[in-house]
């Protein structure tokens, strides 16, 4: 179905049905001039009355009664919009119907009327023109249909060469009353008034019905709304994700070893021996390029002794090798009970210290009168750490409500450049705080590397931990890890700042506590303040009722 805009565009472009059989294609309505009927010929050569716009232009329409021009049709007020009942008549004309004369017989259908000569008629071969009544919604500028039901049965107009639709009180074919258009590109479809025409008509009705011109709301006007709450109870478990199953260390491009002190010394000696350099000098410019990272980690590592291989060179050393890239550290839970048992518990502030991340704020609503837990997921290849803070309350549903990232590596500078990089990172951390260092490292490492598979961590390029998927970026930076985290507290803890209530004795007897419940007064005793009550049924003067209401609201003793 063509959109309204497309239809209008077709009309304005003159894309009307063009049939040698003079198929009635368009009608047009306008206001301010006599209700004059005319057929908008596809050739667009008609001379339009003064003041009447071109084909397809929306204009206003005055529904006249056809007998006394200038008077609004009964039931329609052309000065305001509204709805009314309208009768439509369908007129059919066969080839050969003659139109002649002025004011006596119908004008040729392809002629528009002259101003002041509105009376046209066509002899109809239908003694009783088919008529329907529809509800009409109209404005002062446009008449549109509000019904999209069947208007005219096809058998009433099929076979006719021309079909006209008028407002149905007149005995004459007077002004067509509807502005209607169609998809003018399909000539054959409606070229001979077939059932397709009717479909277009209903399509048009749909278009018009959807294009009712409604008055806009004035700015600032209020309206009612709301009250449609579904009161649903959706609360699903959000659990800590499992550790990744794909490990970069399984792809053979990178390995992690867990040497002890003596093993590390032996490796260091071997690295700078002639034996090593002879073996790998064809591969790398410097043996240091094969060392991607050297760091201390605050974890108990799972490692199995294996032959230490660096670059493409197997050594004589048996060093503990890490076979598990990802680690989970469950820091356990805290059960936080309400201290006051009232709103003060939820007015408290809570901060949580997260190792290698820093202090973070957590909302008491999330875990007070419940449980809070901390779990770290760690990537041993990068040092990236993601901290999950989960909570559980009386609904017994576990939710991960907070995640923060950091880095647990305490990087060890292996060259002068690397050491300076580490130093610069730490001086930056002094001014910006431990959190900044931890976050900077974590952001550079965790998000990009985990799951990258074959990417190689340099850790040696600069303070932001540039990643190089091809060669280590030697000497431009150092591994900073989360060095300051090593100097800090290594277990998480919660800081609770509770407001201290100073309620005097007999506070409830003098003030009561907030209620906002509906109660029968006969079920209460003691100090009571009323929020709302209907005293209409009480047999007392209005002055007494008013006094009573004031006392009830300010507080009294039942």
């Amino acid at each position: 179905m063509a959109t309204w805009a497309e239809v209008c565009e077709n009309v304005r472009a003159g894309n009307v049905l063009n049939s040698s059989n003079d198929v009635f294609t368009f009608g047009k309505s306008y206001q301010g001039v006599e209700s004059t009927w005319f057929n908008m010929r596809p050739s667009n050569t008609i001379d339009l009355p003064v003041g009447v716009d071109e084909i397809g232009t929306d204009v206003a329409y005055t529904l006249l009664d056809g007998t006394s021009w200038g008077l609004a049709l009964a039931g329609f007020d052309s000065t305001v919009g509204g709805t009314s009942r309208m009768r439509l008549q369908l007129w059919g004309a066969l080839p050969g119907d003659e139109h002649s004369g002025v004011n006596a017989a119908g004008r040729p259908v392809d002629y528009i009327s002259e101003i002041g000569m509105p009376n046209y008629f066509i002899r109809t071969l239908q003694p009783n023109p088919a008529a329907v009544e529809i509800d009409v919604t109209y404005t002062i500028s446009m008449v549109s249909l509000s019904l999209t039901d069947v208007l005219f049965p096809p058998d009433l107009y099929e076979g006719y060469q021309t079909v006209y639709i008028t407002e149905g009180r007149a005995d004459f074919l007077t002004s067509p009353i509807w502005k209607y258009m169609y998809d003018g590109s399909n000539v054959e479809a409606i070229g001979s008034i077939t059932g397709n025409w009717f479909e277009y008509w209903t399509d048009l009705v749909d278009i018009l019905a959807s294009d009712v011109n409604e008055a806009p709301d004035y700015p600032g006007s209020s309206s009612s709304g709301g009250g449609g709450g579904a009161f649903y109870n959706i609360n699903e478990t959000i659990d800590i994700p499992p550790l990744p199953s794909v490990q970069a260390i399984d792809f053979g491009m990178v390995s992690i070893y867990n040497p002890n002190e003596s093993e590390m010394k032996a490796i260091s000696s071997w690295l700078w021996s002639d034996d090593y350099t002879e073996n790998i000098k064809m591969n790398m410019a410097s043996p240091m390029e094969n060392i991607l990272m050297c760091a201390l980690v605050p974890l108990s590592l799972f490692a199995i002794p294996a032959t230490f291989k660096i670059g493409n060179v197997e050594t004589q050393f048996q060093i503990a090798k890490i076979w598990r890239q990802y680690y989970e550290l469950d820091c356990g839970v805290l059960n936080i009970n309400e201290f006051w048992g009232n709103f003060l518990d939820y007015s408290a502030s809570y901060n949580i210290w997260l190792p290698y991340i820093g202090f973070r704020s957590v909302k008491p609503d999330d875990f007070v009168d419940g449980t809070i837990g901390v779990v770290y997921h760690i990537d041993l290849l990068t040092g990236a750490a993601v901290c999950f803070i989960w909570t559980r309350k009386d609904d017994n549903i576990k939710h991960v409500l907070y995640t923060y990232n950091g880095n647990i590596f305490n990087g060890i500078g292996l060259s002068g450049a690397n050491y300076m990089s580490l130093y610069n990172q730490q001086t930056s951390a002094i001014t910006s705080g431990i959190n900044t260092v931890a976050r900077a490292a974590g952001q550079a490492i965790g998000g990009d590397f985990v799951g990258a598979g074959l990417s190689l961590l340099t850790g040696l390029s600069d303070a932001k931990m540039q990643y190089d998927s091809a060669k280590p970026d030697y000497g431009r930076a150092g591994n900073n890890g989360s060095n300051t985290g090593f100097l800090s507290i290594r277990y998480p803890y919660l800081i609770q700042s509770l407001p201290i209530s100073q309620a005097p004795n007999n506070y409830d007897m003098m003030h009561g506590s907030p209620s906002m419940l509906y109660r029968n007064l006969q079920d209460l005793h003691g100090y009571t303040e009323i929020n709302a009550i209907n005293l209409d049924s009480i047999n007392a003067s209005s002055a007494e009722k008013s006094e009573l209401m004031n006392i009830m609201k300010s507080g009294f003793y039942i």
């Binding site: 094969n290 050297c294 670059g311 820091c331 800081i495 003030h511 907030p514 509906y518 005293l535």
Partner: protein, 146 residues
């Protein structure tokens, strides 16, 4: 009309008063009659500290005695105030209401903010440690090519 004087030992806001009858007298209301604050005309003076409450059976109303007697035209005029809490109790106790505040916690929701509850400016700070954390002893990792 009869006027029964009492000594009221209760706070004015109590709907059931602790009354001790003092004396029964004869009096009348000065016209025009004010429903809330009528003036009682007595033939003798009373001490409002002792005769601080009264009941007038003719109108079935309890009143607070709110002024010292003033002598006027042969009568001792005493100002009264309608104790509506007592007088209308039998009727309003049959009603239901939305309660703002109540003495008994069973009819309260203490999770609602209570802006009357005094709170100190300082806070109580507690720290709670999670059971586990990172190792204090570190291990080395060496990440190499190959």
């Amino acid at each position: 009309m009869e006027v029964i004087f009492y000594y009221n030992a209760s706070d004015s806001r109590y709907s059931v008063k602790d009354l001790t009858e003092i004396e029964r007298c004869s009096g009348s209301f000065k016209q025009p009659f004010n429903v809330l604050d009528p003036i009682l005309q007595l033939s003798k003076a009373i001490d409002p500290l002792e005769y601080n409450y009264c009941y007038v059976p003719d109108v079935d109303r309890y009143y607070f005695v709110t002024s010292q007697p003033s002598y006027e035209a042969g009568f001792y005029n005493v100002s009264l105030h309608n104790d509506v809490i007592v007088n209308l109790r039998s009727e309003y106790m049959q009603l239901g209401a939305i309660i703002s505040r109540q003495e008994n916690l069973g009819d309260c929701n203490v999770y609602l903010n209570d802006n009357r509850l005094p709170v100190l400016a300082k806070q109580k700070v507690n720290t709670m440690r999670f059971p586990y954390g990172f190792n204090n002893n570190d291990e080395m990792v060496l990440i190499v090519n190959g």
